[in-house]
Symmetry: C2
Subunit: 307 residues, 2 copies
């Protein structure tokens, strides 16, 4: 495994796949998973992340996590890099990671621990134990502002750690950490909070960003990525202004509707995202209307059939 160059794959959009749940039973609609993967790949998304937060990872059983990873790998059929989300206890994350390897995932993304008590050194040990016991390139999803970035500095020398998905919106802190870690560790920095924050993170050293928006409007995310890579500031800000209202809508109710908004957008353009699971509730009519307005502004409305 050439870990040194592997991280370059994340100088791209990491598309977090949604998990479609059937209305009523709330079971996973596996056909919907397949359609979602096909849509993303056909529209030019190169990195798929099953079992990220937009996938409602924490609403899945461990069996479902495994099957989602396995099935996304199967559907992607080597046409995209599959970055499989794993987490929970160290032993559970290792089990999920080894399963991901067995079924052919390319790499793992380790969620931040959900434990209410953690120390910097304990978090180093947490990630290190998982990385050392899963023989795949690893990406850390770093999102707890109470934990020091020293954790990343200490882990950066691990060969398997190829990228960090940084999800704390503190730009000076992020920039300082990027600068403090030697380039020869080959860490690819990824903005972990999507299009809204991507321009700022790129300016501070990120080379890729995560996206939930890709599930309905990948063209726009790819346009942003291209503009960021070319340093085309005019284009960056015009695309950014186009997607901002959607990303802001996802932040309503303390981000409680984050995934519900994405799924509603998908539904309105004719895709089959299903519903969300608890602890997320269905959208209000008002929020659905707000999505409708944006879909219309983006000209993504489904053409009306003649009566």
């Amino acid at each position: 495994m050439d870990y040194q160059s592997f991280g370059k794959k994340f100088e791209d959009i990491s598309g977090i796949t949604i998990t479609p749940f059937k209305e009523g039973s709330k079971e996973i609609d596996w056909n919907g998973v397949k359609e979602n993967v096909k849509f993303l790949i056909n529209r030019g998304v190169n990195v798929l992340v099953p079992c990220g937060n937009t996938s409602e990872f924490y609403a899945l059983t461990l069996e479902e996590v495994k099957e989602e990873i396995r099935y996304v790998v199967e559907c992607a059929n080597k046409r995209a890099t599959v970055l499989a989300g794993v987490g929970y206890s160290v032993a559970t994350a290792i089990e999920l990671g080894n399963y991901a390897k067995d079924v052919g995932a390319d790499c793992i993304m380790i969620h931040m621990p959900v434990h209410p008590f953690m120390t910097d050194d304990g978090v180093v040990d947490y990630f290190k134990s998982i990385i050392e016991n899963v023989d795949l390139p690893a990406v850390i999803y770093f999102k707890n502002p109470a934990i020091s970035d020293r954790v990343l500095e200490e882990l950066s020398s691990l060969e398997r750690l190829v990228a960090v998905k940084y999800a704390i919106n503190d730009l000076p802190r992020f920039a300082r950490t990027v600068h403090s870690i030697p380039a020869h560790h080959n860490i690819t920095w990824v903005c972990g909070i999507a299009e809204k924050w991507a321009p700022f993170f790129f300016h501070a050293g990120a080379r890729g960003f995560t996206s939930g928006l890709v599930n309905l409007y990948p063209e726009k995310s790819l346009e942003l990525l291209a503009a960021l890579k070319k340093n085309d500031e005019t284009k960056v800000w015009s695309v950014w202004n186009e997607v901002l209202p959607f990303e802001n809508l996802r932040e309503k109710y303390n981000s409680g509707v984050n995934v519900a908004i994405v799924k509603e957008g998908m539904r309105q353009i004719g895709l089959n995202p299903g519903v969300t699971r608890e602890p997320v509730s269905p959208l209000s009519a008002e929020d659905k209307a707000a999505v409708r307005t944006l879909i219309h502004q983006w000209n993504l409305d489904i053409p009306k059939q003649p009566q």
Copy 2:
């Protein structure tokens, strides 16, 4: 099942059991679990909570969660009420809850969902789905300040919901919620943030409190409970002042050492708590010394053997 009176069991101390992990392998030391349960019961603790936060619930695999519940029930042997912690996705929590019932646990404590996205209505659905699908009295562990107490108001009419372990240190908010829920719903309110906050919560309507301190100094916790029940203010504040430095120590490093401090205290008085698991790291020499000082002040030092 007489749900109406069941909640009265929580007008008491809910003793959160620690999970002893072996030095090195970090496997669960089942003999240590047995000793811990024996210690708690012998010292007068009536309610045991395996798989709470002090049990390092989130550092356990699901198989370990199940075995910990089963084994604590076996060790308690009906000499204490066993309140089994369950959580994660709805389906996982139901599976754990039904397992708890099968092995003889008396009731379940449902952890707050760990999902990064949640809405008030979604949290109602989350708890409701679990409560409706596990045929045991249920206690909600309510600790996310971003979620409205309206959730508790809506769930309070469920017959199986017998108590709420309230873990948000906003007293006016707590008092208002206690007052707003009709008495005939028979919800027992429990201070979910232990001895330090118990006097304030009792004043506002709590009738019991959770405790990690019981794992080493149950006499002190029981003294506080008795004083609170008798409204013996002098005693309440004298005990409170005795335990406060210990509870404050547990809050150091954003509570990262919460359980490590308890385990260190247990170790210093000759119990066998083992070590903590990731993402918690071992205590510094300085923090161990701080525990030593308190143990000495409490006169819990192990008598020195003659040389």
